[in-house]
């Protein structure tokens, strides 16, 4: 056991994967000698060498495409895009090739690659260093999409992503990279992809979230408990394929649901969660589903960032409103 931060958990998972499987290679901008802009790959180049931890030019399309080519030949590349805002040139290779290689060849070529990128607001950085565009990736058949919200889940889910036979996009919330420490057993055990984590049990209201916003979800649940409202907090963790059964099961018990995400509202993944509840558990609902999200704007600079990021009080207000319905 070690008491570590989320970014240290990422590093530990990468080190474990490099150690256990010679097919694992890391590539990306400044991942080698520099150890990555957030130090997620610190020390790996020194330990495993430049053939396995490879600095690339600033070429996001080629980083993703080279990973596809390596994966198609049996390697397990873990590519890093320095910030989620830089990922768009790589989206061509991800959506058009990584996600389709297996389907297109009916299984004769696979694409066991991971593409990691830090993301999210709350670090006082400009727009391309602060956004949450995960819904784009959740929409692409053939890709898996994972977003950890704690050091333990970062460790176990990243190992699962690297060992998975399909391409996985792995977004790491920068706001909580170093926000807290947690005891993590660095034993190489993975956590299941496609399974939600119920972080707090409660019978009055289901609160669904993922990524850094899970912290606000838990804080809101704690405060609401003081008012006698018991909130069930579910961290989706994998957005594709997502654990609809966990959410539907909880909503059927509580009859109320609030969805919290940091991404802008329109077309956000919360809409998918809400739609599934409406389709499959409408008869259980005692109140309308509410979404607490960022407004439909570009992430603003630091003086306005608190108005963009959903706050604990926003979640509490939404929960109280939902509880008014009888």
């Amino acid at each position: 056991m070690a008491e570590i931060t989320l970014v240290e958990a990422v590093r530990a998972a990468l080190a474990h994967a490099l150690e256990e499987d010679p097919a694992v290679v890391i590539l990306g901008e400044d991942v080698g000698t520099d150890g990555g802009v957030f130090r997620a790959t610190e020390g790996l180049w020194q330990r495993f060498g430049s053939a396995r931890v490879r600095d690339t030019p600033l070429s996001e399309a080629a980083i993703a495409g080279v990973a596809v080519g390596l994966a198609a030949q049996g390697f397990r590349p873990v590519a890093e895009i320095q910030f989620q805002g830089f990922i768009h040139p790589a989206l061509d290779q991800l959506a058009n090739h990584a996600a389709r290689l297996r389907n297109r060849t009916r299984g004769r070529l696979g694409c066991p690659m991971v593409l990691r990128a830090p993301f999210g607001a709350g670090v006082h950085a400009p727009e391309h260093h602060s956004e949450s565009i995960e819904a784009i990736f959740a929409h692409i058949p053939g890709l898996k999409l994972v977003i950890p919200s704690s050091p333990a889940r970062a460790y176990g889910l990243l190992l699962a992503a690297i060992r998975d036979p399909d391409p996985v996009v792995f977004f790491e919330p920068t706001r909580i990279y170093r926000a807290g420490r947690e005891e993590v057993a660095l034993d190489g055990a993975s956590l299941p992809l496609g399974r939600a984590f119920t972080l707090r049990a409660g019978g009055d209201l289901t609160l669904v979230s993922w990524g850094a916003a899970v912290r606000e979800a838990l804080a809101a649940a704690e405060a609401l408990s003081g008012e006698g409202i018991e909130v069930e907090v579910i961290d989706l963790a994998t957005l594709r394929p997502w654990d609809a059964e966990a959410v539907l099961g909880s909503v059927r018990r509580t009859g109320r649901c609030v969805i919290l995400h940091e991404a802008p509202r329109t077309g956000g993944f919360g809409a998918e969660v809400a739609a599934r509840i409406a389709e499959e558990a409408l008869d259980s609902l005692l109140a309308p589903i509410r979404r607490v999200t960022a407004p439909d704007i570009v992430p603003p600079l630091l003086r306005l960032e608190h108005l963009y990021l959903p706050q604990v009080d926003d979640v509490i207000a939404a929960a109280r409103e939902v509880m008014q319905w009888r």
Binding site: S59, A61, Q73, T105
Partner: protein, 339 residues
């Protein structure tokens, strides 16, 4: 693989010097196969057996066959949207190709890839590609894999003149050069990206000039001369196998047909098309083989007839194949079917 270089005084064309009679006869047969395949594919489209669109490579056969002549099955290729010839040159079975075009379960991708996405990993064909420039970074990954594993395999990356203005082209060439990877960037310059000529689209007069920006050799050859294509690609693959890094080979050629089935040929003249048709690469290679005593004219005619027979049998195989199973619709999106 080419045979050892002959004595210096031998002034026969490269391909005659470098390859034995069986390989040369096989090359001519494959050129006939590509031509006949494309013509049969076009006829099938007209009859409604193939839907959507397709991109024919009639007139470009010497590039595909010349580039693949010196490759082994462990060498890889990445192909393009105009990739039928590349597949055949790398050893694909035309029956399974037609079946793929027809969307049949017996096709290379079991009827899910279609004309633009035939992959044949067993023969080293990593797949054609509906995205212009899409194969370039993948080829770099394939070459990096070969270098890491020390397999000695090279990757030949086919792309068209249109792709040389895509960002992926520049990213891929740079990356292959800094890592000295065994990859041959093979540009089939057929003069037009759909309707836009290279003069209007490309700032340099020759795509091969762009090699200088990435510190690799760049040569331009007559893409309708199979010997010139084979000579340039063999030199580039030898360089790659020796660990000296990538090369860019530009083959000047021409597609007789339009870009796709929607093309009205408004951007080029009848005279231009006819002038290029007069430079047909197939009779040119056949004449070379006859002149050097490799084949008689009768044997050339027999090869053409053999190609027609193979194509007819391939069409029959494809027509007879079953449609894909509905039960398989959601399979292979993920390794394990999603819930």
């Amino acid at each position: 693989m080419p045979e050892p270089a002959a004595a210096a005084e031998d002034n026969r064309p490269y391909i005659i010097r470098a390859y034995g009679p069986d390989a040369l006869r096989g090359a001519l047969l494959r050129m006939f196969l590509i031509r006949n395949f494309e013509e049969a594919a076009e006829a099938s489209y007209m009859r409604g057996l193939v839907h959507g669109t397709m991109h024919l490579s009639i007139g470009q056969e010497a590039v595909a066959v010349g580039a693949c002549l010196g490759l082994t099955e462990s060498d890889k290729i990445t192909s393009t949207h105009r990739g039928h010839g590349h597949c055949i040159a790398k050893g694909a079975d035309v029956g399974r190709m037609f079946a793929e075009f027809f969307g049949k379960e017996t096709g290379y991708c079991r009827g899910r890839g279609g004309s633009m996405h035939i992959a044949d990993p067993a023969k080293g064909n990593l797949g054609a590609n509906g995205i212009v420039g899409g194969g370039l970074p993948i080829a770099v990954g394939s070459a990096l894999s070969a270098k890491r594993l020390g397999t000695g395999a090279v990757t030949v990356c086919f792309f068209g003149d249109g792709a040389n203005n895509e960002g992926a082209f520049h990213e891929a060439l740079n990356m292959a050069a800094i890592w000295k990877l065994p990859v041959v960037f093979l540009c089939e310059n057929n003069r037009y990206g759909m309707s836009t000529s290279t003069e209007r689209s490309t700032a340099v007069p020759r795509v091969a000039l762009r090699a200088a920006a990435y510190a690799m050799p760049g040569v331009t050859v007559d893409g309708n001369d199979i010997s010139a294509v084979a000579e340039a690609v063999d030199a580039a693959t030898a360089r790659g196998r020796a660990g000296e890094g990538p090369s860019l080979v530009e083959c000047l050629t021409y597609r007789w047909r339009g870009h796709s089935k929607s093309d009205r040929n408004r951007y080029r003249s009848r005279e231009e098309i006819e002038a290029w048709m007069a430079r047909d690469p197939i009779p040119r290679f056949a004449a070379l083989l006859v002149a050097h005593g490799i084949m008689s004219e009768d044997e050339v005619r027999a090869a053409e007839a053999e190609a027609e027979r193979v194509i007819e049998a391939g069409l029959e195989f494809a027509r007879a194949g079953p449609d894909p199973s509905v039960a398989d619709l959601t399979r292979d999106v993920y390794t394990t079917e999603a819930p």
